[in-house]
Amino acid sequence: MARAGATSSRRSDPGENHERSLADSRPGGNATTEPAGAATAPSLPPDEEPRRSGSPRRRRHLGLRARVTTTFALGALVLSGALASITYISVRSSIIDQQESSLTHEALGTAEALSGALRHPVANYATLLNDYATARNSESLLVRGPQSYPSSPLALNLSRLPKALRAMVRAGHLADQVVDESGSPVLIVGVPIKSARSEYFQLFTLGDISRTLHVLFASLLVAALVTTLGGAILGRWAASRALRPLHETAEAALSIAEGRLDTRLESDRYADLSVLTSAFNSMADELQTRIEREVRFTSDVNHELRSPLTTLATSLSVVQARRDELPERARQALDLLGAEVGRFRRLVDDLLEISRLDAGLGDWHTDEVALGALVRHTVAASPPPVFIDIQDAAEQRRVLVDKRRFERIVANLLENAERYAGGATRVTVETDDRWGRIAVEDRGPGIPPDERNRVFDRFSRGTSGRRRGTGEGTGLGLAIVAEHARQLGGHVYVEPNGACGSRFVIELPLLPAEEE
């Protein structure tokens, strides 16, 4: 019976292999990939694409990957399950058939031998039966007329015989039946011994077969699970592979967004995606052309505006040097002219600066500088003097900035305080581990909460208390501050300064503290 077990498990091997090879061939075999693709692809654009903008990018990939992986795994599970079941059922019935015929044969042999022995008087039937029925794990029963003789007191008796079997044998036919006795299958073979007007029944325990079948079942289950796992791995790999061009496209788009306008996709890398690739590349071409045209335009406008402004400012200075020689009315007109030329100049400067910031063109020269000295110099460069309060720990912390850019930020904030809040009252500098905070405080009317974000918008001069002042402002100052701060890796916000006034805070990333 041990052999039978070995045989049966060997028989199950081809089934397993067959199944594995099926799973392996799946990426090529479109039969299984098609439904997976069809199931996932259409649902992707509507519910996933529009919402994704920043960080959840990775999750989208996981989503699609997980779905493809699950589909592959399920496919593998269903197929391997089906194959395993078929294998199990056919192997089981064939083993049982085989056993049935060989055991029937054995019972026939025993019955034949018994029929010879029964011609003589029998002293002890049990001994006789035990002498003849020598097979292991079997019990026998001889029915002779109304009497029945089991091979042992506890062995097979009439009540355990299925009625149909008994009837068949009584009618003179050879019969057998597999009976489930308390969970384990037994085979009962009935042989009529006509010469002795007896019926011989032999019961064989099929315990070995059932063990064999258990082993087979377990191996098939393991094989199915391995195949499912293989399918999942394959699905994951296939999904990653399928998503790679998408990933590359996303990287390229990000690279363009970061200003590397000459980023392109390799056009002949993925034949299936040539439409996407060429569309992407032509979009990038178009974008590059447009941005370059815009930059050229800005630069031209820049030049065209700067030349007359230079003449205006220079000529004005010549006249201003003779201001005292002019009559009163001309002096008034000259002062107006001077103020407006100044404002015009600032407006042009601000407009050009913000358009350059937008175009990502910086003429910036970053240096590592100590925060304390930077703020002191910067505030000193924009009169009138303001009280500066620098935290001790902040004094020597270093930031990576363009000093003139930083000066623009602070000058704009001080100017803003001057214009709308009667001047800055204090400039403070604080740091924590990673951020330096430079705050410009005033005691003006303050800014209502709903306007606090809008003050950084372009040409926003607020509605309520924030008047247009003396007409000196360009309306771009705070927008430039916000943009500069952003490009320096920090940001700017405004909060109330205690009970009255505002506090404009610039947060800049600090360089790691120097070790002493």
Partner: protein, 230 residues
């Protein structure tokens, strides 16, 4: 006697207004409208009364301001201020590399230009006092005579380069930050353009170092500034 300035600018209105303004500052101003004319005027003036300083616009028809600077530098160490309409790193650095000592950006305040001119002219004269000769290995610097020799051969430096070298030599072994150099050589405040220092150091190296890519005299101290070593 008032300093003589040559103004090179193609836009007639700007040129005239600049002349008026500079004359108000007390300078003797001559105008030209192209690079070629500027070179001629400069050569002519060498015989009688050389210019003390040139103000050169970058955008010129024909020979542009960069070429004009380069040509002038072949024959002269006269201080040059470049006028640019753009503050692109490219323009500023290219102008400085072509040999300009300083730059202003249009539209400049006339006061700003006047201040730059004053600083450059003051520097041009301020080479007296101090030791007669300083020796750094194969380099010999004579601040008073305005002469630098390497292996006993004279090296021709512009005044700005010379001053930069003298400043580093006077603080030999000490590190001078960009800000310190900007203040002492160019009379800029804290917000001066550090590129002025970087480009001039680069040009200085090509003249006094045996191998400018592996400098032995003018050394960069990362994050701090520059120092002169023997």
């Amino acid at each position: 006697m008032s300093s003589r300035i040559l103004l090179v600018e193609d836009d007639e209105r700007i040129r005239t207004s600049m002349r008026l303004s500079l004359e108000d500052e007390g300078y003797d101003v001559e105008e030209t409208e192209s690079g070629e004319e500027a070179l001629e005027a400069h050569a002519r003036a060498l015989i009688a009364q050389p210019f003390d300083l040139l103000v050169v616009d970058i955008m010129l028809p024909g020979m542009d301001g960069f070429d004009c600077c380069r040509e002038l530098r072949r024959v002269s160490t006269v201080p040059i201020i470049m006028v640019t309409a753009r503050t692109d790193t490219h323009d500023v650095v290219a102008g400085l590399e072509a040999g300009a000592d300083d730059y202003v950006t249009k539209p400049f305040e006339p006061k700003e230009l006047a201040a730059r001119i004053r600083a450059l002219l003051r520097r041009a004269r301020a080479t007296d006092g101090g030791p007669v000769s300083l020796v750094f290995g194969d380099l010999e610097i004579m601040p008073e005579a305005g002469v630098v020799r390497r292996d006993n051969e004279e090296v021709h430096l512009t005044r700005t380069e010379f001053l930069l070298l003298c400043e580093l030599a006077a603080n030999s072994g000490k590190v001078l930050s960009r800000e310190q150099l900007l203040e002492r050589v160019w009379s800029y405040d804290y917000f001066g353009d550090g590129r002025l220092v970087d480009v001039h150091v680069r040009r200085l190296r090509t003249k006094i170092e045996r191998d400018a890519s592996e400098p032995r005299h003018v050394l960069t101290v990362r994050g701090l500034g520059y120092k002169l070593a023997p």
